[in-house]
Point group: C2
Chain length 195, copies 2
């Protein structure tokens, strides 16, 4: 059986969740050359202002394109986090925007203030989704850095390429910092003691 | 069983097919209030420059979000038309951009030069997808005129609202003209003769 990797990106309308899904899917599907299905579903909750986009990655043709149990959940606001963290696999990855997610349901979540970084570093809240894409790239191996950069640059409005490339890099940097806190390196001496 | 209406929008990269899918799905899902699933799949064909977006509409929750047999196929280039017209239901609707589709596989296709209209009327090829959305609105009852306009205006770049509203209207007008040729009204006198 082929391996699936199921992703849900979630938040509220205006946070650029759909564009995030499209860019991630194009990066993996067109530039990294894997099979990808990208879906958004609208039902009564769409009128409530919630927004979600799903990306399913596989090394072969994808029969069922909706995300099932999640390997990766990105929650850009509290409601999305509350609604969806139960869909995570036991070893699934949770990434939250701590600008809006104040209560994190599991301790091993990656907590990064995407929107605050967007405001303070770029004076543009709208770049929070691109910063989050940078973090996804660094914290998972689902997409290559080169592919995500190509996909971002092909989708963002003309004239904003530098801004968005910088946003992507800021997301990668923020993720590296968080990763060091979550998984500190074992000092060399200790490694030697064990062997 | 609930009624599904399965749509595939297809063409080549750069024709704005994905955006077309997103706008159509948001119009139907958010503004018209139905259940919608919108999907794009990437496989080896994505590297060939083909682009397709699917929209499934229902009056209840959608289990399987990929399009099955098509109620509506929009083909913005010849390859898309050739690849997908076999997926149409016997009574399905085919709309083609005659700027690029020179060989139409079935006679009852709606044939409109979306890209030529975009060039000649708006001097912007990029509006062809919005013109096509106007035609879809007029030729099917899958989306309301008010919903499609709201969704277009919420997705297009700031400052291009008037251009895109005009493009939408041009698509509706072109569709009305084609519809009259395909289904000419029976003159009043003849109706009277029959009764």
């Amino acid at each position: 059986m082929s391996e699936r990797y199921d992703i849900r990106l979630s938040g509220s309308g205006g946070q650029g969740i759909i564009l995030m899904g499209i860019i991630l899917a194009e990066a993996i599907g067109i530039y990294d050359g894997k099979y990808v299905a990208q879906t958004q579903s609208y039902g009564p909750e769409a009128r409530g202002g919630s927004s979600k986009a799903e990306v399913v990655v596989s090394d072969s043709d994808i029969d069922y394109p909706k995300a099932l149990k999640l390997d990766l959940l990105v929650a850009m606001d509290q409601k999305a986090c509350d609604d969806y963290y139960m869909d995570l696999k036991p070893d699934g990855t949770l990434i939250v925007d701590t600008t809006f997610v104040k209560q994190v349901p599991i301790t091993r979540a990656y907590q990064i203030p995407f929107t605050r970084i967007a405001r303070e570093k770029f004076n543009r809240e709208m770049t929070a989704n691109i910063i989050a894409l940078g973090a996804i790239t660094r914290l998972t191996s689902v997409v290559s850095p080169r592919a995500i950069e190509s996909a971002v640059l092909s989708r963002v409005p003309k004239g904003t390429e530098k801004l968005n490339r910088d946003a992507l890099k800021a997301g990668m940097a923020a993720a590296s910092k968080v990763q060091k806190i979550a998984f500190p390196e074992i000092p060399k001496e200790h490694e030697n003691e064990d062997t």
